[in-house]
């Protein structure tokens, strides 16, 4: 109930901000509520017409005091302050209606909490800012709560998406009103009370913050909706390693060296299938495999046509499988030769390291 009443109150305030006119307001009993621009500058309470100061949307106070209102100025007859019957609540928070004051009681005003002392303008301003920010935040939270409770979708993901969508829509809707609020606030600020200014500032600041800084205030909620739009990260399948029978046999050190590569299998050689330009596939042999690295051990490095052709084959098949090749050579001298020939051929996906026999 309190949320509903507050939403109606905020809606009327927004209507005034957008159009400059007030919607017809009715009390719960059906009695039409009127706007009262007259305001006691000392304690912020409403007074009868002509008593206290006139706080309208424009014009000057008939009393010569600073004023921002013109509503009802022509019909103002100014009784003395002592004769004024104080009614209603404070203005400036968007409520432009008078409310009958309960007999014998105090109005529901913040000023009432400081009896006997004039309000401190600084304190009033800060308090108003807090109220405005609180209302904006409260309305946002209320919307989130509504989205959660009215959306019967069972998955958290959809609920989160609904919340984020609602918030983003609210942000877009509040964009223009926020700017209008700023302009209207500039017009009215000269004559508003400190608390009125503070509240309006807080409201505008809150709305602007929601508008221009969703990443800061709402990033987590909005990110839930964006999850549906994010393209899933590409994951690559593990390398398609084939194994062929090793046909070369020897008891010499070079054979033992080649067979000792990491991931090698006795009597078998790991291969990658190279896709040719015509679509056919041919295997390229290596000596070992370690994760995404394919190892080729070289007892020595040569610079001959078929050795260069092998470098191109290996580089191509590694690129096709999105892998990196490693040449393991027995000495640093061989490593130097390998690095130079790879550099000459502009091959960057084959690295070289020394692996002692």
């Amino acid at each position: 109930m309190d949320q509903t009443a507050n939403r109606e109150h905020k809606s009327g305030f927004s209507h005034w901000l957008r159009t400059g006119s007030l919607p017809t307001a009715l009390s719960p009993e059906g009695v039409e509520l009127k706007f009262n621009p007259w305001h006691d500058p000392e304690d912020g309470r409403f007074t009868f017409a002509g008593a206290g100061s006139h706080y309208g949307s424009s014009g000057a106070d008939p009393t010569g005091e600073p004023s921002m209102g013109d509503r009802g100025r022509s019909r103002a007859a100014r009784p003395s302050k002592s004769e004024a019957l104080r009614v209603g609540t404070r203005i400036g928070d968007g409520r432009r209606r008078t409310e009958p004051r309960p007999s014998g009681g105090h109005p529901q005003s913040d000023a009432a909490s400081r009896p006997g002392s004039p309000p401190n303008p600084v304190v009033e301003f800060v308090g108003g800012v807090g109220e405005g920010l609180y209302d904006v935040g409260k309305e946002t939270v209320t919307g989130v709560h509504g989205a959660l409770t009215t959306n019967p979708v069972t998955t958290i993901r959809n609920a989160g998406g609904g919340i984020a969508g609602m918030i983003d829509t609210a942000i877009a809707a509040e964009d223009t009103p926020a700017r209008i609020q700023v302009s209207r606030a500039a017009e009215a600020v000269a004559n508003a009370s400190a608390r009125d200014i503070g509240r309006a500032t807080g409201t505008v600041a809150g709305n602007v913050a929601l508008t221009v800084a969703p990443g800061a205030a709402l990033s987590k909620a909005s990110a839930l909706r964006s999850l549906r739009l994010v393209r899933p990260r590409i994951t690559y399948a593990p390398p398609q390693i084939g194994w062929v029978k090793e046909v070369v046999r020897s008891e010499k050190p070079w054979k033992a060296y080649n067979d000792a590569a990491t991931g090698s299998r006795a009597g078998q050689a790991p291969t990658l299938m190279r896709t040719m330009a015509d679509g056919s596939k041919r295997p390229v042999k290596f000596d070992g495999i370690q994760g995404d690295y394919v190892i080729d051990r070289k007892w020595s490095v040569r610079d001959m046509p078929r050795a260069r052709a092998q470098i191109l084959r290996q580089s191509e098949v590694l690129a096709q499988h999105r892998l990196i090749g490693i040449w393991e050579v027995p000495t640093s001298a061989q490593r130097t030769k390998a690095l130079k020939i790879l550099k000459k051929m502009n091959v960057t996906n084959i690295k070289v390291k020394v692996a002692k026999p």
Binding site: V247, V248, S250, K252, W254, N258, V284, K285, K298, W299, S300, V301, R302, D303, M304, P305, R306, A307, A309, Q310, R313, A333, K337, K340, K344
Partner: protein, 103 residues
């Protein structure tokens, strides 16, 4: 004299590894075999290796076409001059410059 005979044996083997059709000889296996041969040549006695290097240039005339190029470039492709100049940094630098200029 003996160097030329050994050079001819090595040259035949190298031509086989480099020019045999892919359907007859796996390319990766051919490269692996030539890598082993290269290491063995580098390990030869320096004096005999010098004679072999000189012999390859002589016997290359006995081959034609692609085989001629293969035999003529054996010393270059197996880094045999670099093996002979392993203890001479100046000579190594000169050979490196020549290799870079060739490409």
């Amino acid at each position: 004299m003996i160097a030329k005979q050994v050079a001819r044996i090595i040259a035949e083997y190298v031509v086989f590894l480099e020019l045999t059709d892919e359907e007859e000889l796996n390319l990766d296996t051919a490269v692996e075999a030539s890598e082993v041969l290269g290491a063995q040549l580098e390990a030869l006695d320096k004096g005999f290796l010098r004679e072999l290097v000189d012999a390859f240039a002589v016997i290359a005339a006995e081959y034609s076409g692609d085989a001629h190029e293969v035999v003529r470039n054996i010393a270059y492709g197996f880094y045999l001059e670099e093996a002979l100049a392993a203890d001479d940094p100046v000579k190594l630098a000169e050979l490196e410059a020549l290799r870079d200029a060739r490409d």
